[in-house]
Amino acid sequence: MGLVILVVIWLITFISAYFFVAKTWWLPVGASAAAAGIDHHFATTYFLMGIVFVVSQLALGYFAWKYRDRGSATRQALYSHGNNRLEIIWTLLTLILFVGLNFMSSSIWASERFRPAVSDAVQVEVTGMQFAWYFRYPGPDGKFGATKPELQDPSSGGEGAIGLDTSDPASKDDFVTGTMYVPVNREIDVILRAEDVIHSFFIPAMRFKQDAVPGLAIHMHFTPIATGDYEIACSQLCGLGHYKMHGILRVVTQEEFDKWVATQEAGKQ
């Protein structure tokens, strides 16, 4: 039985580890400035925790086999209540490992989240509602107009969905789209809002995730570094349509972005 246990535990360990090492299913390709640092730290944690995983499981299986009762009357189990020195050593080692990992990751966290977006970031207001994302751009005046909950009409799409108050002068040049366009290599200042319940704005390729909470307007930023289309998913249970609340982030060159903005503005006349 000891051998069976060893084999089963070792097999489970090796098979799991294989898929982890082979990266058969892996993080999506990173396309933001922060991705490299985050992925590097992920890999570090992965490597270290992976070693702990494999070593401890193998030890468990090995001990189960090695110290099985072979029926021999002469071998007695070791009568020992433990070893304080060993306790202290492995406690300290674990502490160093965990605290070390934490401080490494905290410096990345701090650099991303302890500062607001740069002053010339591209502003996009992202509003989540059951079950779609809408993106509002402030237009040439750089200011977002007022919205009123009474004016919200999700079935009308666009400006009606977010309840844009057209009587506010700042609203005149705001436009709302269903696809999020951003220029590459510029910092994007996302202002997250939610109309009804908590949603969460997740762009896997950008390593970007933030809950959109009703009653709050949360600022968060990222910098895309590669053009292309990236899927956006809702990552906080928001009702029956949670699984289909998705969108597209389209990263284009600065030129294409300016052209697109101009087209949207023209469409408003």
């Binding site: 977002f144 007022a146 919205t147 909950p149 309840g163 709050l216 307007a217």
Partner: protein, 230 residues
């Protein structure tokens, strides 16, 4: 009354020391039971404290929390302090007096419990404090109900404003707990009238007394929270 004090401290020594020495079998059981039930009440009160700790933190958070006004896009604080009806002070006085009568009832019951099976004592000795506490407790609750009616009359219901919500919540939760205490006292009173064991009655009265004192302290805390952090 001086003899009550010395007996009280002797009884305390018995309860704390229960398990050592060889006192009378009956008293020993009573002291041990008392100890165990008091421990239980202490544990229960710790659990109840957490309820009011969560409400207090919710209260403080809600007071200070800005919420987004979607019309202006600005963060606003919408907490309007509630004007507390003065009658609350009368109620507080009633509760404070009830805690005194409760303590007297407790000492009476406990010394009766220790003396059970020995000298006979008059039944009238046992009742006044307990009954008085029940009456005062019920008065407090009726008084709270009157306060609620007064608030409702001036337009403050549960959902009117965040501060009114918390007022009803805190006073309501306290009231429910106090009512449980009154029910326990009623049970003890009934048991006593039905000539049930003096020790069992004493255990119930003692436990409820500590619970009652806690409810008084809790009430004073709630009042201070509502008054000084409106």
């Amino acid at each position: 009354m001086a003899s009550t004090t010395t007996t009280a401290s002797a009884n305390t020594a018995r309860v704390l020391g229960a398990g050592f020495g060889r006192p009378d079998q009956n008293e020993l059981d009573f002291a041990a039971r008392l100890r165990r039930v008091r421990l239980g009440v202490g544990v229960a009160l710790t659990g109840i404290v957490m309820i009011f700790v969560s409400y207090s933190s919710a209260y403080v958070v809600r007071q200070g929390l800005p919420t987004l006004d979607p019309r202006t896009g600005a963060l606003v604080r919408d907490w309007l302090p509630l004007q507390l009806p003065n009658f609350l002070l009368v109620n507080t006085l009633v509760l404070l007096v009830s805690t005194l009568t409760m303590e007297l009832a407790r000492r009476q019951a406990v010394s009766a419990g220790f003396g059970a099976g020995t000298a006979s004592r008059t039944e009238t000795d046992r009742m006044p404090w307990l009954a008085l506490t029940i009456i005062l407790g019920l008065s407090f609750l009726s008084g709270q109900w009157l306060v609620w009616r007064e608030l409702a009359a001036s337009g403050f219901y549960v959902a009117t404003s965040p501060s009114s919500s918390f007022f009803y919540l805190l006073t309501g939760m306290h009231g429910i707990h106090l009512l449980d205490g009154i029910l326990a006292l009623l049970a003890a009173g009934a048991a006593s009238l039905l000539r049930k064991s003096a020790t069992s009655t004493a255990v119930v009265v003692d436990a409820t007394a500590w619970y009652w004192h806690f409810m008084t302290v809790l009430w004073v805390y709630i009042l201070c929270l509502l008054e000084f952090a409106p």
